[in-house]
């Protein structure tokens, strides 16, 4: 299948799901559940991530008739995941003692990750888990997923200046944590 054909096939599945076809939505869930779950783990940690992913996918289903295709479906789904994670942040705080590192190091990673790279990523995982939820969200969206400041601020319900200041503080803290762990 060419990339164009893949895109057309996905659009067709999306259209069916938008019109209430549950089987088509099942195909979309199968395709996107790992990326949604990964983002959730990075935002709220492993304990709450499955709940966030589930709630985000359910919200996506309810909201699908609103989806106009202005952004890619994956991007739209990520925005819903961020919002859901933020909504459940209070629950995430109760789980603050749980570290993200286990998931970023071990659970479900592709097998070819090894050695130095794995060590660096494990260190990053530990450092990310030490940030406040607000700092972690900004740094994950900006530096891991490459969102713009404007998008990040909009999705987190904060101003762009707050997002920039928070990002700056998060990076400083990350650097300190990473240098301290060496």
């Amino acid at each position: 299948m060419t990339p164009g054909e893949v895109q057309r096939a996905e659009e067709e599945v999306l259209n069916r799901a938008r019109n209430g076809d549950r089987e088509a939505f099942g195909d979309l869930v199968e395709r996107y559940q790992d990326t949604v779950y990964t983002l959730a783990v990075r935002l709220v940690g492993p304990d709450l991530a499955a709940d966030v992913a589930q709630e985000a996918l359910l919200r996506a289903w309810r909201a699908l008739p609103r989806f106009r295709g202005e952004a890619a479906f994956g991007t739209w789904l990520h925005r819903i995941t961020v919002n859901t994670a933020w909504t459940l942040r209070k629950r995430a705080r109760r789980h603050a003692a749980d570290s993200l590192e286990g998931d970023l190091e071990d659970r479900g990673l592709r097998p070819e990750r090894a050695g130095e790279l794995a060590e660096l990523r494990a260190g990053l995982g530990r450092a990310l888990s030490a940030l406040t939820p607000g700092q972690r969200a900004v740094v994950v969206l900006r530096d891991v997923y490459g969102w713009s400041n404007a998008e990040t601020a909009r999705e987190l319900g904060i101003t762009e200046v707050t997002a920039k200041v928070r990002l700056h503080r998060a990076r400083l803290r990350l650097r300190t944590l990473l240098e301290g762990s060496r």
């Binding site: 209430g20 549950r22 939505f25 099942g26 869930v29 199968e30 559940q33 790992d34 990326t35 779950y37 990964t38 783990v41 990075r42 499955a50 992913a53 589930q54 996918l57 359910l58 919200r59 996506a60 289903w61 309810r62 909201a63 699908l64 008739p65 609103r66 925005r79 819903i80 919002n83 859901t84 933020w86 909504t87 998931d103 970023l104 659970r107 479900g108 990673l109 592709r110 990750r113 790279l117 660096l120 990523r121 990053l124 740094v139 530096d143 891991v144 997923y145 490459g146 999705e155 987190l156 319900g157 904060i158 920039k164 200041v165 700056h168 990076r171 400083l172 990350l174 650097r175 990473l178």
Partner: protein, 113 residues
């Protein structure tokens, strides 16, 4: 962080007045911080390639809980929260302004008397 200019240069990279750009160009501290930031960003962007496998059964759980589609805005709770925050800030500013105006109004008759 050496001073306010270094802070501003770090928080608003590539933005700000010409004086800030000049500061960036000649401050060794800012240049070193920018290099460290680039390296950190490179490392973090590498995490984007990693995809964790969703827990088994997630898809089934989602599909078993599908209700009706109602085209509800999935961002609504956050939008409502942000609106509430702005409304609270506006209310506080209004209350402060009114208290200030009332204080001034009370002071003026005394000054005249």
């Amino acid at each position: 962080m050496r001073g306010p200019r270094c802070f501003l240069a770090a928080v608003f990279p590539g933005e700000g007045p010409a004086s800030l750009a000049r500061h960036r160009a000649c401050c060794l501290h800012c240049q070193a911080a920018a290099a460290r930031k680039r390296s950190l960003r490179r490392a973090l962007s590498g995490l984007a390639d990693e995809v964790l496998v969703a827990p088994p059964g997630l898809q089934l759980r989602v599909l078993s809980r599908l209700g009706d589609q109602d085209a509800a805005d999935p961002r609504r709770p956050l939008v409502v929260r942000a609106a509430a925050r702005y409304a609270a800030a506006a209310g506080l500013a209004l209350a402060t302004g009114l208290a200030f105006a009332a204080g001034l109004a009370r002071r003026q008759p005394r000054a005249l008397g």
